[in-house]
């Protein structure tokens, strides 16, 4: 075996360009997969790390289900059995305004009871004498910043920073810096510590708390403590371990991350085809060699292992290089992923790039498994060749694979795929949907050989008038079906996935555009500058709404207030808005029923409207009653309607603002939607609004057009990662075609030689190769368009629906057909370029004597 491997495998593997192409392809596929894994893990671990840093030694947290709660509860918690220490906490996410470099950043302010903190969190404070810490920090507006943050923005001890708290500017004095590990690492350093009394005062939470941290006795089991505590604090509070917060985020990001992983698997999938194809071709190409070896007494099994090992060698080297490339790729991808997650779900602290050593083994492992799987069949083929058969020359026609068999297999797989797509969601994992998508790809791969034959037959009469290169290329295409088949299949798969994802994104975008057009009717939207940042708790100035109403040209103003509640132990958004104004000037797109009617009922009867995503998340239906936690205890409301909405924050509940004001005793607003009288100029009104509140209060006023554009801009940015992954898959597929064509040249050296000998010019040889590539591209493209049709249906109505809960309108844009055709043709021609050049430069004499 050793000799065979050294003399034969190595010489074959590394002498020819195709081995390198295969390696690059496999390495790229693995690297994409690995880099997505690294990015996903880094994002989660960054979040977890931040949560751990904030939690310190905390074993349990108490939070109010309806938001901030009365601080008096702390006494009864402190006296509960099993509780050792108790720390009251105030927290807020505050948009920063100065120094100017901080603009757009969020500072997480944490108000703590300094006397309790020692047991909970690790404070390593610099820039201040230890004995002065207490007295200095007790001063109003005194804060500790983290050293990384201060360094980043060149803030020194004694300096000040400005943030927006509620609807006011707040100037904070830096009295010291947090260093080392622990708290300083929370929120990527964007954290400030304040004394709890000043925090309560400055954040309008006098007498209230956001959270209570507990450390429990080690002797007593946690669940027992939780049980007695839960009874003591009652149903308006939630009790959980700090880790549960990370778990919640993991759960929230699960579908998103799974989606990315699935996308990254595309390249891996194409890589599998690449190895499979390389080895299969190798077997065909080396038939003679196999025959000679067999006649020299080498056993079937050794031939089998020879080829298997070749595949595994490719996989191993591909895996190692894949990890190396992946580590580089991951940096860029991590940035994109973190940005998307922050924009859509939760703010992710600047994620330190972590490269766990396990990833290295994972990459090699994937490489080897992928290689072993994909080389199994070719190796078996090699083992089964009979010596005589193997030594036959080029005229022993390869028997054409049976078309019927392929069609039957495709039909069967197609049916199974369809059935799988009908299986409902299980364990929060659209496994059946993904499986159906995988089967669909295999189904269409099975259709490649029949499609190839049909294509060859159909174009034959068309080529009559064209130069002979077109007919020669057609002949090659058909003749080398076994080699071209898998290549076209891989190309088709990559293209189909690309097209279907494009169709999904386009459908999604169209849906969003339609939704925006039908539901965003306000002429001007006014909000704090931090409107688009998820966690910002900024509110509008008091009295703004009545003042706006008095501006000439303004017809109506809808005030919008959102509060965080814990619905069924999960964070959820409750919105109070002026539904009467909304009904009169705008609308919700309800799943069923008339918008005006439903909204009017909601005002009259005090019912709740929920978004589709929210309904899917908790399995709710129209007419059901839900219990929403409030400062007055649980309130039970009937669901009057379920409306479409395309946000990623888990959906929302909407009630009339008067209800929210009454029960929450909350008059504040986050956003105002301003409707203008007919004929008044939004630009002019906006100018007035900006002059009054813009500079001083830091509010922004966006006209309808700009608001819509902003939503779409964020939408487009979200899909950057997706597009990046798609492109890599196409590159891998391109390598596949190049590879196949190179082999094709190798195998046809003699034919090319003959062509030259009987009068073909170099150009004509180039043409033949390029046209064959073009044919492959066209077949792959046509099949991929059909495959994408089904795949996109699956993506939109099964996978996406199950993962995210949106109903999207299906739209297969005709432009996709044109674009994909251009892409496929270009890719194919690009792939054919180097092989064609090689073919043209072949020494004719050597080619002819080649046997």
């Amino acid at each position: 075996m050793g000799v065979l491997f050294r003399w034969i495998s190595f010489r074959h593997l590394f002498r020819e360009p195709r081995a390198w192409l295969t390696l690059i392809g496999v390495a790229l596929g693995i690297s994409v997969f690995i880099s997505i894994r690294i990015a996903n893990q880094s994002v989660l671990s960054a979040y977890r790390h931040s949560v751990d840093a904030v939690a310190g030694n905390t074993t349990l947290e108490v939070a109010g289900k309806a938001g901030p709660f009365d601080e008096t509860i702390i006494t009864s918690i402190r006296e509960a059995p099993g509780v050792r220490s108790v720390a009251p906490i105030i927290h807020a996410a505050l948009p920063m305004s100065s120094p100017s470099s901080t603009e757009g950043e969020i500072l997480f302010l944490m108000g703590v009871d300094l006397l309790q903190e020692g047991a909970f969190r690790q404070y390593e404070i610099g820039g201040i004498a230890p004995e002065k810490i207490f007295t200095e920090l007790m001063e109003p507006d005194a804060v500790l910043l983290t050293e990384p943050f201060a360094t980043r923005h060149q803030i020194e001890v004694g300096g000040t920073i400005s943030v927006r708290a509620g609807n006011r500017n707040l100037s904070l004095r830096v009295v010291g810096l947090l260093k080392g590990s622990g708290l300083a690492e929370a929120e990527g350093g964007n954290i400030a510590i304040m004394d709890i009394a000043s925090a309560q005062w400055r954040l309008d939470k006098l007498g209230k708390l956001d959270r209570i941290d507990l450390i429990t006795e080690e002797g007593t089991p946690l669940h027992q403590i939780m049980k007695t505590l839960a009874e003591r604090i009652g149903p308006d509070f939630s009790l959980r371990r700090p880790e549960q917060r990370s778990e919640q985020v993991e759960k929230m990001l699960f579908a998103f991350q799974l989606n990315l992983t699935a996308l990254s698997a595309i390249s891996l999938f194409v890589g599998i085809f690449l190895i499979y194809n390389t080895l299969l071709v190798s077997v065909v190409h080396r038939r003679k060699e196999i025959g000679i070896l067999r006649s020299l007494g080498v056993t079937r099994l050794r031939i089998f292992f020879l080829f298997l090992f070749e595949g595994i060698l490719l996989g191993t080297i591909g895996g190692i290089s894949g990890v190396i490339i992946g580590a580089f790729l991951a940096r860029g991808i991590l940035r994109l992923v973190a940005r998307t997650v922050s924009a859509l779900y939760v703010p992710i602290p600047p994620s330190p790039f972590s490269l766990p050593p396990s990833v290295f083994w994972e990459g090699i492992g994937i490489g080897i498994i992928v290689a072993a799987l994909s080389s199994l069949f070719p190796a078996m083929q090699a083992g089964q060749l009979r010596p005589r058969e193997a030594m036959e020359g080029i005229y022993s026609s390869q028997q054409a694979p049976s078309t019927i068999k392929f069609l039957l297999a495709a039909a069967l797989l197609g049916v199974v795929s369809y059935l799988l797509s009908q299986v409902p969601l299980r364990w929060n994992l659209p496994a059946a949907g993904y499986l159906a998508a995988g089967l669909l790809l295999i189904t269409f791969s099975m259709l490649v050989p029949p499609a190839l034959l049909l294509f060859a037959r159909l174009i034959e009469p068309l080529l009559e008038r064209l130069p002979p290169s077109w007919r020669l290329a057609r002949g090659h295409l058909e003749q080398a079906m076994r080699r071209n088949g898998p290549t076209i299949a891989a190309f088709m798969g990559a293209l189909a996935m690309m097209i279907s994802v494009v169709v999904m994104i386009e459908s999604f975008r169209d849906t969003v555009v339609l939704w925006i057009d039908q539901t965003i009717k306000a002429d001007i939207i006014g909000a704090p500058a931090s409107l688009l940042s998820k966690e910002s708790e900024e509110t509008l100035p008091d009295g703004l709404i009545s003042e706006v109403r008095r501006i000439p040209g303004v017809e109506a103003v809808d005030g919008y207030r959102s509060v965080q509640v814990l619905f069924r132990e999960e964070p959820a958004l409750l919105v109070g808005r002026d539904l009467a104004v909304h009904a009169a000037h705008s609308r919700y797109l309800f799943r069923s029923g008339d918008s005006k009617e439903i909204i009017e009922r909601a005002i009259r009867e005090g019912t709740v409207l929920i978004s589709e995503v929210f309904a899917n998340r908790f399995g709710l239906q129209e007419g059901e009653h839900i219990e929403i936690p409030s400062p007055q205890g649980k309130i039970s409301l009937e669901i009057a309607g379920i409306f479409y909405e395309y946000s990623t924050d888990g959906g929302k509940m909407v009630i009339d603002r008067s209800l929210l004001q009454r029960i929450w005793k909350d008059d504040r607003l986050n956003v105002v939607a301003i409707y203008l009288e007919k004929g008044s100029d939004p630009g002019v009104v906006r100018q007035q609004l900006v002059q009054r509140w813009g500079a001083e209060q830091g509010l922004t006023f966006i006209t309808q057009v700009n608001f819509k554009n902003e939503i779409l801009r964020i939408f487009d940015q979200t899909f950057l990662v997706t597009y990046a992954l798609e492109w890599i898959a196409v590159v891998v597929a391109l390598l596949g075609i190049t590879n196949t064509l190179f082999v094709s040249i190798l195998e046809r050296q003699r034919e090319i030689g003959i062509l030259r000998a009987i009068g073909a010019s170099r150009r004509q040889v180039v043409e033949v190769v390029l046209i064959e590539a073009f044919y492959m591209g066209v077949i792959g493209n046509i099949l991929s368009l059909f495959c994408a049709l089904f795949l996109s249906l699956l993506l939109i109505f099964v996978i996406n629906k199950q993962s995210f809960g949106w109903t999207l309108l299906y739209h297969y844009p005709p432009s996709v057909i044109v674009h994909s055709f251009l892409l496929a043709t270009l890719t194919a021609l690009l792939a054919g370029y180097f092989p064609a050049r090689k073919a043209a430069r072949l020494a004719v004499t050597e080619a002819i004597s080649y046997e």
């Binding site: 020669l472 090659h476 170099r762 004719v844 004499t845």
Partner: protein, 234 residues
Amino acid sequence: MIELNEIDKTYPHPVHPVAALKGITLRIEKGSFSLLMGPSGCGKSTLLNLIGGLDQPTSGDLLLGGRPTRDFSDADWTRLRQTEIGMIFQFFNLLPMLNALENVALPLLLRGDRPEEAKARARTALVSVGLGGRLDHRPSALSGGEMQRVAIARADVVSPQILLADEPTGNLDSENGEEILKLLSSRARAGVTLLLATHSPQAVPYADQVIHLKDGRVDRIDRIDRIDRTGGKR
């Protein structure tokens, strides 16, 4: 007429360059039938390939019909092969995915003849080699002798002035070989300059002259009397 003056051909190799032809000087008359004979490795194929322009000599001059070929470009050689030189090889060398008719029509199509015209001429050429009934058969459905006849038709279809054949009977039994030789010699009688490399003495009776090569040099040239030839086997 083919003229070779002091032709050398050395195959480069970093350690062992091979001098395949050394100072070959030859004149081959228009319309003559010459055999190239000699032991394996003496340079027969190399010489034919040079004349067909598939490879270039290391030094020396090759003249075709009085024209020096020294400055011919690849495109010039291609044009020459499309119109004046036909080549035939030992391993038939048909394109497996084309049928007999297409194989023969190909050189005409490659040089830009109209498809109908090319097909018609190819049909005539195949009929003339006795394969009028096998037009739409692929090479895999033909016997060795039949394949070689297709190859001859393909070389002949462009009406070349020179036919170069490298061991065309090498893979055939003597009976089929005889058939092929008859076909080729009939081309020579029609005025084509025919140069045939072979190991088989079977061909001698058909030829005008036998050029014996040895170690890349012309060893000797045997001229065969025309009377002798016509008086020989038929």
